[in-house]
């Protein structure tokens, strides 16, 4: 037993060393030197001006009104994208989990094939970042509000599906088996024997991801939908840093307010 512990410790140390080594190697490969990280005088002045503006954000009624409106739009896009992603995540998460399978289903090549295909699709959806999807939509079909929502929804569906299916597969199986033993079909076993057990965790995770959706929705504004990102981009182009900061503060405030609310909501769900 003691020997195995030692070995575990050894492999952990090795992993840590590996990570550090990979980091150093990456620095060397990219040709980054410590000197480069210090900005030149000219760009340094720009950076200084930008951060100084943080102390004096624009507080004009116009700016505040635009910020409020943009925040509301950001919230709407995030909510719509999250809602679509939750539905898609449930469907793919169901197909990507095996806990509800009747006994013996693992030997069925059709089922296994469908499972592998679903998991591959899930992995594909979430390995491409929402910004990359946005770029793809922009170049392929032009950008629209719908494209913005879909760009966020695709990787979010993938992430939800992966997490939901894992939570379902890790839920205690006893109740599900009991329902199966009383004649419930696999779908009903899933809905009433497994999902209720995983639901508190799933809800907490949805709340957490909504926060990510808020940020994504704001950033997607850079591609031309009227969320906070679009106004930040415009103000940036005008070098109007105080206005940039007003929008940034608006975004931060949104995230903080949501975090406070969702934190208490998550605690209520857990109990």
């Amino acid at each position: 037993m003691a020997k195995r512990l030692d070995q575990n410790l050894g492999s952990r140390r090795l992993l840590l060393l590996g990570i550090v080594a990979a980091g150093v190697l990456a620095l060397v490969q990219l040709g980054i030197t410590p000197g480069e990280m210090i900005p030149s005088d000219a760009s340094g002045a720009g950076v200084g001006k930008f951060f100084l503006a943080a102390l004096t954000p624009a507080t004009g009624a116009d700016t505040l009104l635009i910020a409020a409106r943009a925040a509301l739009t950001t919230l709407r896009f995030a909510a719509l994208a999250t809602a679509i992603s939750v539905v898609g995540g449930f469907v793919l998460g169901f197909l990507g989990s095996t806990a509800w399978w009747p006994p013996g289903a693992r030997r069925n090549p059709l089922r296994l094939g469908a499972l592998v295909a679903t998991r591959a699709l899930i992995t594909f959806m979430r390995s491409v970042h929402e910004l990359l999807w946005a770029v793809l939509f922009l170049t392929a079909i032009g950008f629209s509000a719908t494209a913005g929502v879909i760009a966020i929804a695709i990787p979010f569906i993938g992430t939800f599906a992966k997490i939901f299916s894992e939570m379902i597969d890790e839920a205690p199986r006893a109740a599900a088996d009991a329902l199966g033993a009383s004649g419930a079909s696999p779908l009903r076993v899933y809905l009433f024997g497994l999902l209720p057990l995983a639901l508190p965790d799933i809800l907490a995770y949805i709340l957490y991801r909504f926060e990510c959706a808020l940020r994504a929705s704001a950033v997607i504004g850079f591609f031309g939908i009227p969320t906070l990102g679009q106004y930040i981009k415009l103000a940036f182009e005008d070098l109007n840093y105080p206005v940039v900061w007003t929008y940034l503060y608006m975004l931060i405030a949104m995230v903080i307010i949501f975090d406070l609310w969702s934190g208490s909501a998550r605690r209520r769900i857990a109990h």
Binding site: A174, D177, A178, G180, S185, P196
Partner: protein, 259 residues
Amino acid sequence: MGESASHFRLDAASVSFGKVDALDRVSISIDPGERVAIVGPSGGGKTTLLRLLNGIVRPSAGSVTALGEALGSLPAERLREVRSRIGFIHQHLALVPNLRVVQNVISGKLGRRGLLRSMRDFLFPGSADLEQIHAILERVGIAEKLYERTDRLSGGQQQRVAIARALFQEPLALLADEPVSSVDPARARDTVSLLTELSEEDGLTLCMSLHNIELASEFFPRIVGLRAGRVLFDSSPASLEPSAMRELFDLSPGEALKA
């Protein structure tokens, strides 16, 4: 009717998990309304036998008939129909802890109701169902817990919920796997007594696995002794030989090897 008149019938049924024989050519027949206790040491095959009776486990040899259907070759749909008429009370209760009592009980009918109906049952149970569930909870002695979250109940009360779920199935037979192992010894007698009473009142076939042979003798007119996957005896408690009992629980390693 002859054979099909029995509720459960095993004909030389064997179950093996890999190289281990959990059951070895077991033959028994249980009539409708009969009450049978399966006794024997743990690992003797009691749970496997019960799981064989409702098709959770399939025989590797021999045949199993439940409620007139041969389970070995039954398509999934028909197997679910048979199961929906057999209440199974699991050793570890197998309830969903974070649901209300009423939701756990109503899920007893999942095998016989459509998907949409089941969803409605779960979220907005109908008044007829609520009345029926309340009546069942009254019978098992926890009527006031209808809307309580299941994990807020004591172990004994949760067991009553598991029994109520099986009863709400409106079963023809009840299978109970060591129902006394999840409650304290003082409650064990109550549980066995409750299950035999309920089965008697509703005319249900009852088949219960028990470690405790005294309880079995007190409440069951028929006792099947199971050891190392084989039936050692199958008789009424009155005609049970003391030597047979000794053999059942004899722990000598030589004996275990021979079996």
